[in-house]
């Protein structure tokens, strides 16, 4: 990035911050703050171990410093500006989740467009929220578009504040379905004099697997017998004999499936459940970035600030507006929408922003400022002469 580009972006970030109304996170004064300035040279150096005492009111600080990126800690400390973690004395920490399109198994890097990646990421976000809101019943959730390639969720419920790394890893494993043991979600119940293996239907992954099992049963029921047997044999470990037994069990005793009784239909049904478990985990897990959630000292982007690698705003998304939220429209800062600027492009590129698609040739082009800022922040363009 050339100096004039850097100076331009820094100036315009300053204009944004002068107008922006930021609401800092709760207990902002107990948190560590950090930022990356617009400096030249290779690598980005973070200025960190700052407290609110060091930086003063957050809005004034941002308008004055105009940083490239700004972060606050998930953790709260006795002394947030101490320069080592042990001297800070940890008190508690929000539970933070990071979904990054780069890490999604469904995303094909280099093939999916930015918009496509963000769309897939939102799907993963909804799966994550399903866990956090239904299974965990968390109440204090803040959903944030990261300004880059994904979403963050900050959980601030009282009950999770003092959990250590190991406990947080359990939460990670839960939402990712790691370590799910088909035997673990099946319990053995006494039915009269015999024991029966029953899928836990009331909660957890057991409920998800059960839901899938019933869908599968309904599917099979709606098919002609030959098709049904064929469908069953597509599953791992199920041959003709077992397919016939399972099919018979479905015909005869659907209620048993409804009740989660996996004894009905013998070994075949257990195999069916095992293979559904794998399927359910693949389809329904939320592929969050583990280290972010387990790190109780993590620094996370400040909602309301600008992402220096995109020029988009880090946006809090009210829960009821999530469905309609389009990051490539709603995270475009209004400050950058009023006029056109000139940028120099190395190669041709396509940008989708504010509902328009811009196909741009290499060379000097005039574009809406938000497109120019986006390209410059990403390092695809330099500032041109006006």
């Amino acid at each position: 990035m050339e100096e004039r580009t850097r100076a331009y972006l820094r100036g315009r970030f300053g204009d944004y911050y002068r107008r922006a109304e930021l609401s800092p996170p709760p207990e902002a004064n107990e948190r560590e703050w950090g930022y990356i300035p617009w400096t030249s040279g290779p690598g980005e150096t973070m200025v960190r171990h700052k407290s609110m005492l060091d930086i003063g009111a957050i809005e004034e600080f941002l308008a004055r410093e105009r940083p490239r990126h700004v972060y606050f800690s998930a953790g709260r400390y006795d002394d947030p500006s101490a320069n080592s973690m042990s001297k800070k004395t940890w008190r508690s920490s929000d539970l933070v989740f990071d979904l990054d399109a780069d890490h999604l198994p469904s995303v094909t890097l280099g093939e999916d467009s930015y918009a496509e990646m963000l769309r897939k990421c939102k799907g993963a976000l909804k799966r994550l929220l399903d866990f956090l809101e239904d299974d965990f019943a968390f109440e204090d959730l803040t959903v944030v578009f990261s300004g880059g390639r994904g979403y963050h969720v900050h959980v601030r419920d009282e009950g999770i504040q003092t959990l250590d790394r190991d406990a947080r890893r359990e939460i990670v494993d839960y939402v990712r379905g790691i370590g799910l043991d088909p035997d673990g979600i099946v319990r053995t119940e006494m039915r009269g004099n015999v024991t029966a293996r029953v899928l836990s239907t009331e909660g957890g992954w057991g409920r998800r697997v059960h839901r899938r099992l019933l869908e599968f049963v309904s599917d099979v029921e709606s098919m002609a017998e030959d098709d049904a047997l064929e469908r069953l044999q597509e599953l791992d470990g199920i041959g003709e004999g077992r397919a016939t037994t399972i099919y018979g069990a479905i015909q005869k005793n659907r209620d048993a499936f409804e009740a989660g009784n996996v004894e009905a239909g013998g070994v075949g049904v257990r195999t069916l459940v095992d293979s559904l478990v794998t399927e359910v985990v693949t389809d329904e897990n939320a592929p969050i970035d583990e280290p972010v959630t387990t790190d109780t000292n993590r620094l996370i982007r400040l909602p309301g600030s600008l992402h220096g690698g995109s020029g988009l705003a880090v946006r809090r998304i009210p829960r009821d507006e999530l469905d309609d939220f389009d990051p490539l429209v709603d995270a475009v800062p209004e400050t950058f929408t009023s006029h056109d600027i000139t940028v120099e492009l190395d190669e041709e590129t396509t940008v989708e922003l504010l509902g328009d698609s811009f196909t741009l040739e290499a060379g000097v082009v005039s574009v809406p400022e938000y497109v120019g800022v986006f390209l410059m922040a990403r390092g695809q363009a330099e500032k041109g002469q006006e």
């Binding site: 299974d135 019943a137 968390f138 370590g179 979600i185 009331e202 004999g241 037994t245």
Partner: protein
Amino acid sequence: MKPLHARYPFMAGAREAVQEASVDLAEVVATDEDVVERALERVEWALTDGTVGDTRRQTRVELLSYPVARVIVSTVDEHICTRKYAQAEAASAHERFVEELETETELRSTRQQHLSLDALLAEFDLGTAVRETGDGFRVTVGTYLELAADQWGDEWRLVNRSLVDGEVPVDREELYVLLKQAIRHRVVDGLPLSVPDVIAENLDEEVERVRETLSNMDLTTEIDTVVPDLFPPCMKHLLDQVQKGEHLAHHSRFAIAAFLTNIGMTTDEIVQLFEVNPGFGEEMTRYQVDHIRGDTSPTQYSAPACATMQSYGDCVNKDDICEDEINESHPMSYYEHRVEEADDDELTDWREGAGEDGDDDSDESPD
């Protein structure tokens, strides 16, 4: 001072009782041999046996031995000692409160004040986090994780739990294990204490004893080699029994499983090693091994010491190494000694020769 406090000296009420009685710990340590002796016993048993031993009849001795034991542990100030001590206090308390809570009310003596589950939950501020349901209990997820995250065994993993509406269902036995963890956390809390010199200097001898026990145990050595030929005779014998399909008493099964875990074997490997006998019940073994591991975290428990093995009658075929080299201290010391003495090329890890036969795909057996 009440007998209840002597049984559960970590309780807030016990601490208050000690304070109210204006006991001067420095004076106790200097003058009350019974208390100091019992305190040392608590720590020594914690290291060698995993419990704090039997309670003394005198309430005062039993109760005061707890703060003194904490002082000893703090002065020794070794991580492993603190950990094992807290674990042993929790294990003993667990055993006591389970017995007490499970005893039919009418069988209880009326003279004594008894513990109720509600009181125990309230003691650890769990009154709102735990609620009883028709078929067990529900624990709020934050509390569950605080108490279960370092439990071993897949059944404790949150991913395998029926988490719903922010609560984890547990049965009574599991709730007791969670309470044991709460006790362990309570005991560890504040350790090591800063010990005034006037108290510490009267405990020199006891602290030295504990240090000696620690060094004999050589708990710090990490061993991860499985060579059954070098096992101590007691463990060889137990393994033989298992492989022949003999029924083992619980303590014997615990001893062999704990030993195998200590030398670095996983549950899967232990199951595989056991699997030589035809009447082998894999699920039961897996359950038991997991259960043993599940009692505490892997680095936190160890196989019984020789003294314990002897008292259970599990010490058999003693050889020269037992008597002369390791002074009948610990089966682990025996094994470590043998491994150290052996030439490296003699050491063929059992796991390197095993493991190819894990393919038990029994698909399409008749339904």
